[in-house]
């Protein structure tokens, strides 16, 4: 009896303490993906030391991150400060979930250094809604030891899709399990669209008009059917169905990122379609315990994505994305929230992270610093950025991206290109209406 009473009392006291403590525990909250911890966490520490406020840091897994952020913002349960993929910004802003940053930015001495083009990507109707963390370029990474085993000359410089398929076939014949990882399907989410589909699409057809894109940028119509879309899906079909260059399971692994890294460590990978962040990410996305430059260079190499080889197509393709940090429209104290953002992006913290992780800088005060310019890898990768483009970051892109992922999933599932294109077209019409969808012959 005694025990029971004391138990009850304890429970009651605890719940009262909890009820009283929860609202007061944190003045500012932030949500970020675990791979960004090495940028965000020192920033939080500095913020706490400087302001005396407590930060409620919510670190989330990278997989399913975009959905989680969208859901939390729409439900009103998101943190005051949120990290988001740049393609989400216009979608979230148009739904009224984000707080505009122009005014506060104008009062911050480091705001002037951000590249205007990147702020543009994170804008909606003239307002900036997120500050970029980094930008990127995309390329094909390859395992040098497996290339040697397959008898392919290194450095590898493919000139067309045929060259890629040819190399992948040789790798497969040499016993390499994942000869060519071309991101596909719904579980990889935006990675399937950006690292896989869009990189191929840009080189699939001549760049005239917007024949090699998802959106006709002049008319604002989504492209429901085009030779470029068909050729790109055809490439997926060749890789996964016709030639079975790679089992599809890697795209649906329980933890895709970990599975790819493990496969690479086990020498089971030939070529990976991915991006500039892999210079650190192939070992650890947070840039800790990285092997030396020499060891990394001995293990992997990279080459730009070639065009399809059709007459008039681009020689190499590239598309850039990146991540941003913004403020929730429902933030209790937007000024304090913005203060947290600027502390994270304060030049010392931001520069150290950019250099340690070999990220492509988004600010001139970092990109023009001697340390950055001396980095041979970044210099080479940045050269690719001369001919890059961005995603179609207008509201609706997220849906289109999901439809693209579904289209590649259907190819993996054995559907033929004709059917998949028809379904893609119909789904676009469902979402945006007949007048917002067009076709290239």
């Amino acid at each position: 009896m005694m025990l029971k009473r004391s138990l009850l009392t304890t429970a009651a006291v605890l719940s009262m303490v909890a009820a009283a403590a929860i609202p007061a525990r944190a003045e500012v909250s932030i949500m970020y993906a675990e791979w960004l911890a090495s940028l965000v966490e020192p920033g939080i520490e500095a913020f706490e030391a400087e302001t005396g406020e407590t930060v409620n840091a919510i670190k989330l897994p990278g997989q399913g991150y975009d959905q989680r952020i969208a859901l939390d913002l729409s439900a009103g349960t998101a943190a005051d400060v949120v990290q988001m993929d740049s393609f989400m910004v216009s979608e979230l802003a148009s739904a009224g979930y984000l707080h505009p940053l122009n005014e506060q930015g104008a009062g911050w001495d480091q705001y002037q250094y951000y590249q205007p083009g990147l702020l543009e990507v994170a804008s909606y109707e003239g307002n900036v809604y997120g500050l970029p963390t980094d930008t990127d370029v995309r390329m094909l990474w390859y395992d040098k030891s497996n290339f040697e085993k397959a008898g392919i000359t290194v450095p590898w410089e493919p000139k067309s899709w045929a060259d890629i398929l040819d190399a992948a076939q040789k790798l497969k014949d040499a016993g390499v399990q994942y000869a060519f990882i071309l991101p596909a399907g719904t579980k990889q989410a935006e990675a399937a669209t950006m690292q896989g589909f869009y990189m191929a699409l840009l080189g699939a057809d001549v760049p005239e008009g917007d024949r090699n894109r998802l959106l006709n940028r002049e008319t604002g119509q989504w492209i429901g059917d085009s030779p470029a879309i068909r050729r790109t899906l055809e490439l997926y079909h060749q890789v996964y169905v016709e030639n079975e260059l790679t089992p599809a399971d890697i795209n649906y692994a329980t933890d895709v990122g970990a599975a790819v890294r493990q496969a690479l460590a086990d020498d089971k990978v030939g070529i990976i379609a991915s991006g500039s962040w892999e210079d650190a990410c192939l070992w650890d996305c947070n840039g800790v315990n990285l092997p030396s430059r020499e060891e990394r260079d001995a293990q992997v190499g990279w080459t730009p994505w070639p065009g399809s080889g059709e007459p008039g197509t681009k020689a190499t393709t590239n598309i850039s994305g990146g991540w941003t940090i913004g403020v929730n429209a429902k933030a209790a104290d937007p000024d304090l929230a913005f203060k947290l953002v600027t502390t994270i992006f304060d030049v010392d913290n931001f520069k150290a992270w950019t250099l340690a992780n070999h990220r492509m800088a988004v600010r001139t005060d970092i990109s023009e610093s001697p340390e950055y310019m001396e980095d041979a890898y970044l210099a080479k990768a940045t050269a690719l950025a001369a001919d890059t483009t961005g995603r179609d970051t207008i509201p609706g892109y997220q849906t289109v991206s999901a439809l693209v992922q579904q289209a590649t999933a259907d190819i993996l599932d054995g559907a033929d290109v004709e059917t998949v294109v028809q379904e893609y077209h119909d789904a676009l019409v469902d979402e945006f209406g007949e007048e917002k969808v067009m076709t290239y012959e």
Partner: protein, 296 residues
């Protein structure tokens, strides 16, 4: 009903009403969310973008899409296979067999088996998912312990047999429930009835089939009702293990619903899927509830 109640209560309708308040509130909350999903299913409401604010009514468009676009019917079929094999055949039959076999058996064997079964049930879904993908992948336990040592090429189970693998994983995960329920049910069958059958010369199989099974029929129906509903809407294990893939091979309705609502951000269409799921589960439940009734 009222006549049976405590006379003090019947004279104090206010107190009676007060007592019913929590239940009433709960029902209201439940109805509210259901009504919400139902209303959304007639709109083009989106998770993000302008349609998150400026949505409009689209009538039956979403429901029409269920049947005119690829995805829903395929996912429904996958779900039917998943439920039939993992819940009805797997968990239920296996749970019953284990309960019947372990009755009265040596207690130490029973303990070991029970611990094994319970372990699956107690593990969080996400842990179970990693466990099973580690078991069934190309470099996994089955390949490195059995297939490769026997001289065969390693089989990529999770790629080539995605649906069977998640079915087996779910059987492993959920058998404990059926086992517990059937153990309790079999314990409730009076010993005399079984003994009497034994004296009359019934074989062990006949004793189970003709005596015990009919007696525990209501328990079977209850079990079926529960596990069908759970399995029909089950999401975490499948999503974590395969994400519905490769391609769409293990896309059940729950995964399809998730992809439509949260990856595509199409809450209206997602709601239509959930309403359809509600109706299907409702019909199934009615069927099981009829089974629950005693035969005339």
């Amino acid at each position: 009903m009222k006549n049976q109640a405590n006379p003090w209560l019947t004279n104090n309708l206010f107190v009676l009403g007060l007592g019913m308040l929590p239940a009433l509130l709960l029902i209201c909350v439940l109805l509210y969310f259901t009504a919400w999903a139902f209303a959304f299913s007639f709109t083009d409401l989106a998770l993000v973008g302008r349609k998150a604010v400026e949505w409009s009514w689209v009538g039956l468009d979403n429901f029409e899409r269920l049947f005119t676009r690829r995805g829903f019917l395929e996912a429904l079929w996958t779900t039917v296979i998943f439920v039939f094999f993992s819940a009805i055949v797997g968990q239920s039959v296996l749970g019953f067999l284990l309960a019947a076999l372990l009755r009265g058996s040596n207690s130490s064997i029973k303990t070991v088996v029970e611990v094994c079964i319970m372990l699956g049930w107690l593990l969080p879904d996400i842990v179970a998912a990693f466990l099973w993908s580690a078991t069934t992948s190309q470099t996994g336990l089955i390949n490195s312990l059995i297939i490769v040592p026997l001289g065969f090429q390693p089989v990529n189970f999770i790629n080539d047999y995605a649906l069977p693998v998640v079915i087996v994983a779910n059987i492993w995960k959920g058998t404990a429930w059926s086992y517990l329920l059937f153990s309790a049910a079999l314990d409730s069958v009076s010993r005399e009835v079984v003994e009497a059958a034994k004296v009359d010369g019934a074989t062990p199989f006949q004793r189970i089939w003709l005596v015990q099974l009919p007696i525990i029929r209501p328990h079977i129906a209850t079990n079926m009702l529960f596990i069908t509903i759970w399995t029909f809407t089950y999401f975490p294990l499948i999503f974590a293990m395969t994400g519905g893939g490769p391609g769409t091979q293990s896309t059940t309705l729950a995964v399809f619903l998730y992809n439509q609502s949260f990856a595509r951000g199409n809450l209206g269409f997602g709601s239509a899927i959930s309403v359809a799921m509600l109706l299907i589960v409702g019909v199934l439940s009615l069927f099981y509830l009829r089974l629950l009734r005693e035969p005339k």
